[in-house]
């Protein structure tokens, strides 16, 4: 029985979770002796008040779209991929390997090659945990956590060892200028819009949006997507229908790892234009919050990524102008994950009661819409 209308499940519950997270964060700000209203004003003007702010917001949002989609695709197969961080780090290595050692004539070809390489490296990093889950039953959560640490050690070794540029810093050489991606300043300049030159948002934003559309098409418009969702709903039923669990686990995790790896075209090729230590900066973990908030639907992920992009840029402004550390964003992120992911029932149970009570008073409209819905699949 449907206890709640679909809009409540898709919009109301994430919204209430977000409001709770915001209220608790406001309490934290009050507790450390600053004004929450000042803080939110500063965040809005800092993140959305100029093309410079928007440029950073969209840059962060691009990262989070990739990692959010990565977590979502795994969620559809009822897999919890915490390894987005490590896969994104490996994606960076993939980008660096392609761009440092091969001379590319133009950024378009370089972007294609870097995307392919980043996806391949990210997918490869997800492959072993996926295989161990599918064949040996090792818990994917634990193995992907372990692989995050192994990835960090690997990158550390590569950047102080074989790939290190001359100088003090553990980083590769800067990529050749021909491979630098056009920023929004260059793109909007063509149609005469004056966009801030300093902001790092670049053409990979459009790749991320395309990835959202592609994931939507994959999950809801292809046979493979149907199989992934069926497996996520019920493994025995999927098995009975002739769907191979091994294939679904492998494919879902490879796509997931590939998407996380693709993040590197934004932060490594687009922004830093070389590979530095800890390039992913926790974006792989924010993907978890984004996917939970967005109910594993690409449109939801897109919106949640924008929201977290705003929080990230706004948080940087807070650290700059008020005595509030940037880590406040980590607190908000944690609260969002807690409320939308773990304490979901705390919000859902009272809401269900309210809707049930409301329904008893007024007779329900005849024949409620019972189509299989995307939001339910995301559960």
């Amino acid at each position: 029985m449907d206890r709640m209308p679909r809009w409540a499940d898709v919009i109301l519950i994430p919204l209430i979770s977000l409001i709770l997270a915001a209220l608790l964060s406001a309490l934290v700000i009050l507790f450390i002796g600053e004004s929450p209203i000042e803080a939110i004003k500063l965040m809005i003007s800092g993140a959305l008040g100029s093309t410079y702010g928007w440029g950073y917001t969209l840059y962060y949002a691009t990262n989070f779209m990739f990692t959010g989609l990565a977590v979502s695709v795994a969620f559809h197969a009822r897999m919890f991929n915490i390894g987005g961080e490590g896969q994104a780090l490996l994606g960076g290595l993939g980008v660096a390997v392609v761009l440092v050692y091969i001379p590319w004539p133009h950024w378009t070809i370089a972007l294609l090659a870097a995307t392919a390489s980043a996806a391949a490296f990210g997918a490869a990093w997800a492959a072993l945990p996926a295989y161990l889950q599918a064949r040996r039953g090792s818990h994917i959560v634990i193995t992907t956590i372990m692989f995050n640490f192994i990835a960090a050690a690997l990158l550390n070794w590569a950047l102080v060892g074989p790939m290190k540029a001359p100088g003090q810093e553990p980083a590769t050489v800067s990529f050749p200028e021909a491979t630098n991606l056009p920023t929004l300043h260059d793109i909007f300049g063509i149609i005469g819009i004056d966009w801030s030159r300093a902001a790092p948002a670049n053409v990979s934003l459009f790749v991320a949006i395309a990835a959202c559309v592609a994931v939507w098409a994959l999950i809801w418009r292809t046979r493979l997507g149907y199989e992934i969702r069926a497996f996520g709903y019920s493994e025995p039923a999927a098995r009975y229908a002739g769907i191979s669990p091994f294939k679904i686990i492998m494919v879902a995790m490879l796509i997931s790892g590939g998407l996380a790896g693709c993040m590197a075209i934004n932060n490594v090729q687009g922004e830093a234009e070389r590979l530095v230590l800890n390039a992913a900066e926790g974006a792989g973990f924010i993907g978890i919050a984004v996917a939970l908030m967005g109910r594993s639907h690409p449109l939801g992920v897109f919106l949640a990524a924008l929201l977290f992009g705003f929080l990230y840029q706004g948080g940087a402004e807070l650290a700059l102008w008020m005595n509030i550390q940037r880590e406040l964003i980590v607190v908000i992120q944690a609260l969002v994950i807690l409320f939308t992911g773990a304490l979901d029932n705390m919000i859902r149970m009272p809401l269900e009661k309210i809707f049930l009570a409301a329904r008893r008073k007024s007779p329900p409209p005849p024949g409620p819409d019972r189509k299989s819905t995307s939001a339910e699949a995301a559960e």
């Binding site: 090792s138 959560v141 634990i142 956590i145 640490f149 050690a153 690997l154 607190v331 944690a334 979901d344």
Partner: protein, 325 residues
């Protein structure tokens, strides 16, 4: 490598292994009762911060320890609420709590002490001082001249903070509680077959909350030792993945107390070696220090893959218990 250097590395291994061991036993209680806890890291971090803060303000390491346990218990309570009361996803709850600790410790530390997200350096009374066992030598010059047995006694066995000895005691204590008491039997049962425990008229929820509470107390001690014993104050992200290494050790130990001791000593040894030596020259090849950093995780993946014995978690682990109606 001479005998004294070996002793010094082992001595450092023991200290590095202590927070791992206490956190590992914490996870053991929780997971044996069927509550997965990947939030060990966050609980330790919260405890490390509050214990260092209170020890710095009051100058008493004991008040610091209590505060650390309190912080860790608060996190445990949230985890219990999410995963037992509201039957949420235990893994997601653990992830969230790790982030919560990583963020809130720095935000509050900056607002409180304004030293860039750290607490002030702890003075003598605010730390766990080394306990010198009777007859042990204390200065390094004296130890260098003593005989091998005296060196072993003075360098390795004597001169640790109280939590180190306590951690070693916790191992038989945990074994005894889990395998020789009624409470332990029930606790293990609730992680294997909660429906059976429920049928016997014992509260599944109560037992699980008790296990999560014990986990909180132990994580609090582990975190407090980190900030007031191993180091002299809290710094941002000071747990540095130790909670995850403890989790790895727990799997490595196949959820058994004595194996946990072995696993934590091994992982502590790897950390001590990585701290003392950078790249290790084995003559034929040079082992980079990053291999030492990654080795605990690699070993755990191998164990998880079931190539060296099988690690089977408690059967009802990770699943919320729903009473039959």
């Amino acid at each position: 490598m001479d005998f004294l250097t070996t002793l010094q590395v082992l001595d450092s291994s023991l200290r590095q292994a202590t927070p791992l061991l206490i956190a590992c036993l914490a996870g053991l209680f929780s997971e044996r009762a069927g509550i997965f806890d990947i939030g060990l890291e966050g609980k330790m971090l919260a405890a490390a911060f509050l214990s260092a803060a209170i020890a710095a303000v009051t100058g008493s390491v004991w008040l610091g320890l209590l505060a650390g346990i309190g912080a860790s218990l608060l996190f445990s309570a949230i985890h219990g609420l999410a995963s037992i009361t509201f039957r949420g996803n235990q893994l997601i709850s653990g992830v969230a709590l790790n982030f919560l600790a990583a963020g809130i410790t720095v935000v509050i530390a900056q607002a409180w002490f304004a030293e860039g997200g750290r607490t002030p350096q702890l003075m003598a009374g605010g730390r766990f001082e080394p306990i010198v066992l009777p007859g042990a030598l204390t200065t390094s010059a004296e130890i260098a001249e003593a005989g091998p047995l005296m060196q072993l006694y003075s360098e390795l066995i004597s001169g640790h903070g109280l939590p180190v000895y306590a951690a070693l005691l916790f191992v038989p204590l945990t074994w005894w509680v889990l395998f020789r008491t009624r409470f332990g039997l029930r606790l293990r049962a609730v992680g294997e077959a909660p429906e059976a425990v429920d049928t016997a008229g014992i509260s599944v929820i109560g037992l699980r909350f008790a296990a999560v509470g014990i986990c909180g107390v132990l994580c609090g001690i582990a975190g407090a030792y980190l900030a007031t014993g191993l180091q002299a104050g809290f710094t941002k992200d000071m747990t540095a993945g130790r909670g995850y290494i403890a989790l790895a050790a727990l799997i490595f130990a196949k959820w058994r107390p004595w194996y946990a001791l072995m696993a934590c000593l091994l992982f502590g040894f790897l950390q001590a070696v990585a701290i003392r030596f950078q790249n290790i020259d084995l003559g034929v090849i040079e082992v980079p220090v990053q291999v030492m950093d990654a080795l605990p995780y690699i070993l755990t993946v191998i164990i998880l893959a079931g190539f060296v014995g099988r690690a089977i978690p408690p059967r009802a682990g990770g699943q919320p218990y729903v009473k039959e109606r």
